[in-house]
Symmetry: C3
Subunit: 278 residues, 3 copies
């Protein structure tokens, strides 16, 4: 098993690296969260770029440390652009993170999401329980973009995706799970207020992109990103009177996050040989 | 006449219902306010979804409690999508709310707005005075998306629309008016600071959607939504040093709104038999 | 040389005029900053409108005090719309401000930006050092939308553009420069935190539009806009714990900005006959 202090050291080292090098994170994301995502990446220390023109996607992905694709406000044009980014990521060996927003809510979303993860580009997939279940199983439903299930309920679906695709799968929720073929990791941080602000799932996905840009171990990069956001969320909620103040406090907390705050709060559990039983 | 306490009780009951059931509110809205609208719906207790792909509009409206269409950043594609949402709302008997942003500013906007309200789907229309006047009369002008008139000035225009279409019409301004064939209701709440933040009209429209999702009486749902936002605006402005802090305070106020705050501030006047004379 | 008090008086007079008359500022801007740009224009006292439909651009520019075009999230459709706005601005003699976001990051961006500034509409161009250098010289690179150079490094590039096009060029950075054929002006205000929030360059561009709407001297309007934003940034940073609180404090500071604050902080240097040597 991995020592807790080793994990925290690795996480903080990644954060220091991001702050020092400001990796470029390319995003094709939804229209609702563009501003928030860019601000969260900046607060973390990364350098966000939002660019979706067919004429420049290949070039933009090539110079980026990671590319993040998010289908929140998908349409036919957006889907085509996401495919171009996937293709560029594969050709240029740039890490790719995918957010299947609302998969399961409509057949269109489910089909697009399933096709994107099957397109042959290695990726980290981050979704809520409903979304991950929809990716593995057409018959699951969600309510719009909000989940109807606990993250535990999606573990089997996530394992199916991991087995079939070799992608890293992140299920976010009250507990976050990061799954690979070799390992399953659980994070128990964060606060309910994080569901009262739009797009924090999308923010989590983008932060995974930032950590993947500087850490070649995608599952550990995902653990670091999810822990960073969840701990910042805890800190922010303690200073917030509601979702409005929570939003700005979260950016302040990301920007000011210290080793002590991470070490004092990170609640990460590794399951080496045996998977989590739920 | 309706007793004031009955109105406040009904309003608060709706708020409790929204918070308990988190109705799904589908939005095809403008690019400027998407994030703010979603956050306001979340702060209220509703579950927002922004989705505009032709491939899923019918499905998304069908599972929603209400659909909100807003033409703020309209173009030909957006107009087509709004028609699809209107059609879906009619077929699926889902309440529909329409925001004719900037009607009157250009002939294109006026024509699109007039065509949408004539398309045969029952709706609540919420606009400022200039917009409502433009819907009833091509010859009125506005300055971009801001009104040049007091809401009282648009009462005759609103009555014309109500008579011709049977839609519910909401004129927002220093005084808000909600008009049906049977009744006119005036709300005197809110603060000037609400005009110093972009998109609070759009937010009002979206909140009407949330209340319509759980209250079949569209005019009362509109009264409840407009009062909720205006009272939250009053509370927020008392804690704000400017439009920046007002924005987050408004979300906090919506999230924390109590019966006492509503009862202590709501200023609603019903005109049963006789219309307001202005 | 111009007296400092004359400059401050002129700046404050412009601010008073904007607050009194709320000039309409038309924007075709990127999807990331739309909301922020609109809120900054409102906080300043202007009236923003975001409209990009081919069917109404000519009409919207015609009734506007200025038009602002920003290529942050450009694609083929967006480029076509920006050309229409440029054409309308020329025909209607409406001041035009252009933000070449990310010029230099990809060949596509550089080519589009160069073509737009060569299209024959007089304009103010505001960019960071990398962007201005890319406009003058294809061989310069940037990292996404962030600059790799100090603003001083772009002075020669800016002079080349000014000579070739007669546009006013604004280079923003730790020092801001405003260049015309006759004069170069330097502003030393602002704080590093302004680079930790997405889109403050775009906000600067939009504020130039607001000042150009009421002041026919485009270079002085640019000086006034850049100084206003930079001084507001200083005030905001003193009350902020991070980029989240900075964002709302900036809007509050713009809204409440006083003559005393401007007079006490504005650091503007004019170079009449001789250019700044760097």
């Amino acid at each position: 098993m991995i020592e807790r202090t080793t994990v925290i050291d690795g996480l903080y080292q990644d954060l220091v690296t991001i702050r020092a090098h400001a990796p470029l994170v390319h995003n094709i994301t939804n229209l609702v969260v563009m501003s928030q995502t860019a601000n969260a990446l900046l607060a973390l220390g990364a350098s966000p770029v939002m660019a979706h023109a067919e004429e420049e996607i290949m070039e933009m992905v090539r110079i980026a440390g990671a590319t993040v694709i998010n289908m929140g406000t998908l349409d036919a044009q957006c889907v085509q652009r996401m495919y171009l980014a996937l293709k560029a990521a594969k050709v240029c060996h740039v890490p790719c993170v995918f957010d299947p927003v609302g998969a399961g809510a409509t057949p269109y979303r489910t089909q697009v999401a399933q096709a994107l993860i099957a397109a042959g580009t290695p990726m980290v997939i981050r979704g809520n329980a409903s979304e991950i279940m929809a990716l593995a199983n057409n018959e699951c439903g969600t309510k719009g973009v909000d989940t109807l299930f606990e993250s535990d309920n999606a573990l089997e679906a996530a394992r199916t995706i991991v087995r079939q695709t070799d992608h890293v799968v992140v299920i976010s929720g009250e507990k976050d799970f990061i799954l690979t073929k070799e390992q399953e990791i659980m994070i128990r941080n964060g606060v309910p207020m994080m569901t009262k602000v739009v797009g924090l799932g999308c923010t989590a996905t983008a932060l995974i992109g930032a950590f993947c840009a500087i850490n070649p171990n995608k599952s550990m990069a995902s653990v670091h990103a999810m822990t960073t956001l969840a701990v910042a969320g805890e800190l922010a909620s303690e200073k917030s009177a509601g979702p409005g103040s929570f939003q700005y406090q979260l950016l302040d907390a990301l920007y000011n996050l210290t080793f002590e705050q991470l070490a004092g709060r990170a609640n990460i559990t590794f399951s080496a040989a045996v998977n989590f039983v739920v």
